[in-house]
C-alpha cells in the first residue's frame, strides 16, 4: 500500500453524510417520482393511446381506493401471501437440512449438487402447464411452483454457509467436548444463519415472481395475479395498475421492512461480516 494508505482511509466525500445533503436527496427523490407521474399523466392525456389503455392518475387512484374500501383486494392478497408462505415454508424445511447435510458430507455433496445444477436453471414457470395437467388448476400447482422457485437458492446458501464456517470453531468445540448435537445447534446452525437468512430473502424475491406468474398461468379463483389476468379481459387497465402498485408495495414492505432487517439483525447479532448475496 505504501503512502497511498493515508488517503484511502479518509472518507471520500464527507459532505454526503451531513443532514443538509440528506434534505436535498429527499427532495430530488420526490421530484423523480413526481416527474414520472407527470410524464404518465401527459402521456395518458395526449391521446397517443386510448384512455382505456393509459388511464389518467385520478382514475387509477379512484380505482385503488375503491378496491381497498371494497376489501376484495385484501382477500386476494391474503390468498397470494398464503401461497408464498406455504411454498417458502416447505422449501425451507427441505432445503436447510439438505444444505447442512451437503455441507458436512463430501459424498452427499457429490451426489446432490449435479442434480441441483441441472434443475436450478430451469425456470420454475416452465413447469406451470405441466403441473396444471397433473394436479389441476389451483393452490397445489401454484404452491409447487413457489417451492420450485425458492428451494435451490436456499439449499445453495445453506450449503455455502456451512462450508464458510471457520474451522477453528469446529476444532475448539471438539476440544471443549461438544457432542454432535451441540455441534449442530451451537456451532453449525448459528454460524450458517446469516447465509440461510439471505438465502431466504433472495428466495422470497423469486417466490414472489413465481406466485404471480403461476396465478397468471394457472388461473386459480383468487390471488393478485388473478386480478391482473381478469382485468385484461375487460380492458380494465385501472385495476391492473392498481394491482401492480399493490404488488409493488407488498413486495417492498416484506423485503425492506422484514427480510432486510432480519438479515441485518442476524449478521450483527452473530458478528458476521458480509454474507453471500444473490
Amino acid at each position: 500500500m505504501g503512502h497511498g494508505e493515508k488517503y484511502m482511509t479518509r472518507p471520500a466525500n464527507l459532505a454526503s453524510s451531513t443532514p443538509r445533503r440528506f434534505g436535498a436527496a429527499f427532495f430530488r427523490g420526490i421530484a423523480g417520482l413526481a416527474g414520472a407521474l407527470v410524464l404518465w399523466e401527459v402521456f395518458a392525456r395526449s391521446g397517443l393511446f386510448s384512455v382505456a389503455l393509459t388511464p389518467p392518475l385520478g382514475a387509477v387512484v379512484a380505482k385503488l381506493t375503491e378496491m381497498i374500501s371494497a376489501g376484495m383486494i385484501f382477500g386476494h392478497t391474503l390468498v397470494t401471501m398464503a401461497r408464498v408462505l406455504m411454498g417458502l415454508a416447505v422449501a425451507f424445511v427441505i432445503a436447510v437440512p439438505l444444505g447442512i447435510w451437503m455441507g458436512n458430507s463430501r459424498t452427499v455433496e457429490k451426489i446432490i449438487s449435479p442434480t441441483l445444477s441441472v434443475l436450478m436453471p430451469i425456470p420454475s414457470l416452465a413447469w406451470v402447464p405441466l403441473f396444471v395437467l397433473w394436479f389441476g388448476i389451483g393452490n397445489f400447482s401454484t404452491i409447487l411452483v413457489v417451492i420450485y422457485a425458492s428451494i435451490f437458492t436456499m439449499i445453495f446458501n445453506t450449503w455455502t454457509g456451512v462450508r464458510a464456517i471457520n474451522q477453528i470453531w469446529y476444532k475448539s468445540a471438539v476440544v471443549m467436548g461438544a457432542n454432535s448435537r451441540q455441534m449442530l445447534f451451537k456451532v453449525m446452525l448459528p454460524g450458517t444463519m446469516p447465509y440461510i437468512i439471505s438465502g431466504l430473502r433472495i428466495s422470497f424475491g423469486r417466490a414472489w415472481i413465481a406466485v404471480i406468474g403461476g396465478e397468471l398461468l394457472a388461473s386459480p379463483d383468487w390471488g393478485l395475479g388473478k386480478i391482473i389476468f381478469d382485468a385484461r379481459e375487460f380492458l380494465d387497465t385501472e385495476s391492473m395498475l392498481s394491482a401492480l402498485v399493490f404488488i409493488g408495495l407488498i413486495g417492498i414492505g416484506i423485503e425492506k421492512l422484514f427480510l432486510k432487517r432480519l438479515e441485518k439483525i442476524t449478521i450483527e447479532r452473530w458478528g458476521m461480516s458480509q454474507s453471500q448475496s444473490s
Binding site: 417520482l33 436453471p121 425456470p123 416452465a126 395437467l133 395475479g225 391492473m240 401492480l244
Partner: protein, 257 residues
C-alpha cells in the same frame, strides 16, 4: 478412478428419479398421456430434434432473450454509470427505481399485451424491462465503488475526463457490471418462458410447452423442459464464466474460483 466414482455418485439421483418415474408410468395406473414412459420422452425429444421444431423454437426463444437483454444491457449500463457519476441523477432516479424494481416483471405481461398487442414486440420489451433493473443497480454500485483516489491521482497526472472514464471508471466498475449483467440475464431467462406463454408468440420454447398442454402432450412438454435446462446450464457455464475469466479475473480484480 476418482473421477469415475464422482460420476457414479452424481448419476445416482438421476437413476433413482428415472426409476421412480418409470415405475409410476408403468405400474402407477396413470394415463399414459399424462405420465409417459422414459423411453417415450426420449423418443419424442429426438423426434422433435430431428424434425427441427425443437431447435427452431429454441432459436427464436434465444433470439428474444438476446434482443431483450441487449436493450436492457445497453440502457442499464448507461443509466447506472450516469447515476454513479452524477449525484443529481442518482438522487432523482433511485427512489423511483427502488419502487419499480421489486414488482415482478411478469406481472406487467397483461398490461404490455394491452399496450403493444401480442407477439414478439411486447415479449422483447417486457424481457428488457424485467432485466434492466439488476443491471442498473449493479453498475451504479460498481461506479460508486471505484476508489476516489484512483480518479484523483489520474486527474493530478493530467488525465482527461474521457480517459478517466475509459481507463479507470469502466474497468474499476466492470466486476459489478458483469455480475449485474449476469443477474439481468438470469432474471430475463426466468420469466421468458412464461412471457411466451402469455404473449402467444408464434414459435418458442415457452409456447411449445403451453401449446402442448391443450393436447395433453406431456412428452413434448418434458422434452422441451429438458432442452430448457440444457440451455440454462450452457449459458451460465459457457458464456459468463468465460467472459469473467477473460476480463476481470485476468486483470486481477477478482480471484477465480
Amino acid at each position: 478412478m476418482r473421477r469415475f466414482g464422482d460420476l457414479l455418485l452424481a448419476s445416482l439421483p438421476f437413476v433413482v428419479m428415472i426409476g421412480i418415474w418409470q415405475a409410476l408410468s408403468v405400474y402407477g395406473g396413470f394415463p399414459e398421456k399424462l405420465v409417459p414412459s422414459i423411453s417415450q420422452i426420449f423418443q419424442t425429444f429426438f423426434r422433435l430434434l430431428n424434425e427441427g421444431i425443437l431447435l427452431s423454437s429454441a432459436a427464436s426463444t434465444l433470439n428474444r432473450l438476446l434482443l431483450g437483454f441487449l436493450i436492457s444491457g445497453v440502457v442499464g449500463v448507461f443509466v447506472g454509470i450516469l447515476m454513479g457519476r452524477y449525484r443529481v441523477i442518482e438522487e432523482t432516479l433511485l427512489p423511483l427505481i427502488s419502487f419499480i424494481y421489486p414488482i415482478p416483471g411478469i406481472a406487467y405481461a397483461p398490461l404490455f399485451v394491452l399496450w403493444f398487442g401480442l407477439g414478439d414486440l411486447p415479449s422483447i420489451l417486457l424481457i428488457s424491462f424485467a432485466s434492466v433493473f439488476p443491471v442498473i443497480m449493479n453498475t451504479w454500485k460498481g461506479v460508486k465503488a471505484v476508489k476516489p483516489v484512483w480518479i484523483r491521482s489520474a486527474t493530478v497526472m493530467g488525465a482527461k475526463e474521457s480517459d478517466i472514464f475509459r481507463k479507470i471508471v469502466l474497468p474499476g466498475a466492470l466486476p459489478f457490471i458483469l455480475s449485474g449483467l449476469r443477474l439481468g440475464l438470469a432474471a430475463a431467462w426466468r420469466i421468458l418462458v412464461a412471457v411466451e406463454m402469455l404473449m402467444s408468440v408464434k414459435i418458442g420454447l415457452g409456447w411449445m410447452i403451453f401449446g402442448s398442454q391443450t393436447f395433453l402432450n406431456t412428452d413434448v412438454m418434458l422434452a422441451t423442459i429438458i432442452l430448457i435446462g440444457l440451455i440454462g446450464v450452457l449459458m451460465e457455464k459457457q458464456i459468463f464464466e468465460r467472459i469473467e475469466r477473460r476480463t476481470v479475473v485476468r486483470w486481477g480484480m477478482v480471484r477465480s474460483t
